[in-house]
């Protein structure tokens, strides 16, 4: 293998059940249930997944949920706004720690 990530591996995700069928099957049953239409639509859930995929920087998930968002009827503007939500939270998460930095700096300073 020349890279850690191989796009062909995405289609093999289901294979993780081979070495632990009970947990694997329960995970995939739960997974399928989560993404069904509910209080949120399938499209809204796909967009949340797309945003999370960017936040956790998972190439498999970005591939899968870009496709899924399109399949569920999202358009480009909605998908990019979802990525901005992820970016805002990731950026905000870094910046909000500035308060901790300020607290510590103040504690140490005259």
């Amino acid at each position: 293998m020349s890279t850690y990530y191989d796009p062909a591996d995405l289609a093999k995700f289901g294979n993780i059940s081979q070495w632990q069928p009970e947990m694997g099957n329960k995970f995939f049953a739960y997974y399928a249930e989560v993404f069904k239409d509910g209080a949120l639509t399938e499209r809204e859930k796909a967009l949340i997944a797309l945003a999370v995929a960017h936040a956790v920087q998972c190439p498999y998930c970005i591939d899968a949920y870009t496709t899924d968002s399109l399949q569920k009827g999202a358009d480009e503007a909605q998908m990019m706004e979802a990525v901005h939500v992820a970016a805002a939270i990731k950026g905000g998460a870094a910046l909000v720690h500035g308060v901790q930095m300020m607290n510590k700096a103040k504690e140490l300073s005259m």
């Binding site: 289609a11 239409d37 639509t41 399938e42 499209r43 496709t67 899924d68 399109l70 399949q71 569920k72 009827g73 358009d75 480009e76 503007a77």
Partner: protein, 350 residues
């Protein structure tokens, strides 16, 4: 506006070449197994008709639009249209059967000069008509502005393509400005009662994915379309029908040009659904070409795959019993109708 494959003299304008491309994919091995073998595994080969319920007539390849995914390779430069004589042969055959529904497709069927005559004759035989209307034809020229009233008068079921509730994704597939014109046409259809509760005038929209992916859940997309079209444009309709794009003609060209062909076929194969295979529309449909030739479906028609065996090949020789005994011709493109929730001219099949 792009040109048809035929006008561009593209290699894929040759249906024999399309079939070669599809069979090469078959040779790619286990990832893209032969569709016939897949049917055999699920006990459906040879695929046989069930009950003949729909006569689908392609009245011509002429169209005012040139959509990127069109399996007919239709466009303004296509001149093949059905004559009134061939239409009469279709009507003669129809009269011999219990078929309740005649599905008129094209091209833009309304561009055939004998379109209205054909609808009137079908009505006179007491059968229902579906017209696959691309919407923009209604606003394309003054002579088509009264189509909504004409449809209403004959209780024609209108089935219209609208691949998305946003202009961007619709125009990307169907051409610049198509979304805005489609919205205007939908408002004209709504104004005469189409899609309105209690009117008895049915208006369904067709969702084709605008790219190399499969449609999502029909129910879920219908809800989204109803909300968005209602809120943003005040438009109402009855059902949303999700249709998977099949690797035929211009959609095959798009897949090959964009480098998506193999992965798209793999997706269709991986999503093969035996229940959808049982419910494919070719089992209940007879497809008639502009020149009167007979096919199992409109996709086979565009690949020049005539009905097989001893079944009559032309509507002038129509014989329901012989047709019902035929084995339906299948090829690799058929994976499009059996993937996921299934696909047909009536939407999902499971």
């Amino acid at each position: 506006m792009i040109k048809s494959l035929q006008a561009r003299q593209a290699p894929l304008a040759d249906t024999g070449y399309q079939l070669t491309v599809l069979s090469e994919a078959e040779a790619a091995g286990a990832r893209l197994p032969a569709f016939a073998g897949k049917l055999r595994e699920t006990g459906l080969f040879p695929l046989r008709p069930t009950r003949l319920q729909i006569m689908q007539i392609n009245v011509g390849r002429m169209c005012n639009q040139v959509c990127k995914h069109c399996h007919v390779d239709a466009g303004p430069d296509r001149t093949e249209i059905m004559t009134r004589e061939t239409m009469q042969l279709c009507l003669d055959a129809l009269a011999q059967t219990d078929i309740e529904l005649v599905d008129l497709t094209g091209g833009a069927p309304e561009m055939n000069p004998d379109f209205r005559w054909l609808v009137e004759q079908i009505s006179a035989l007491g059968r229902r008509t579906i017209v696959r209307c691309n919407l923009t034809i209604i606003v394309a020229n003054k002579k088509y502005h009264d189509l909504p009233e004409f449809f209403a008068r004959h209780h024609v079921q209108v089935v219209s393509s609208l691949p998305h509730f946003s202009a961007g994704r619709t125009d990307a597939q169907r051409g610049d400005g198509v979304f805005e014109k489609s919205i205007r046409a939908l408002k004209m259809l709504n104004a005469v009662g189409y899609g309105q509760e209690g009117s008895g005038l049915s208006l369904d929209l067709v969702y084709n994915p605008s790219g190399a992916f499969m449609p999502g859940s029909q129910q879920s997309l219908e809800r989204e379309f109803k909300q968005r079209l209602g809120r943003e444009h005040g438009i109402v309709f009855n059902n949303l029908l999700t249709i998977t794009n099949l690797p035929v003609s211009r959609f095959l060209d798009y897949l090959l040009e964009s480098g998506n062909y193999e992965s798209y076929m793999e997706k269709l194969v991986a999503a093969y659904n035996p229940v959808a295979a049982e419910n494919v529309m070719c089992r209940t449909t007879l497809s008639i070409g502009w020149d009167g030739q007979l096919y199992d479906c409109d996709f086979n028609q565009q690949l020049d795959l005539l009905v097989a065996g001893t079944a009559p090949k032309h509507i002038r020789d129509f014989d329901e019993a012989l047709l019902q005994n035929r084995a339906i011709v299948v090829n690799q493109h058929c994976y499009g109708c059996t993937a996921g929730a299934g696909s047909s001219c009536g939407g999902a099949t499971t």
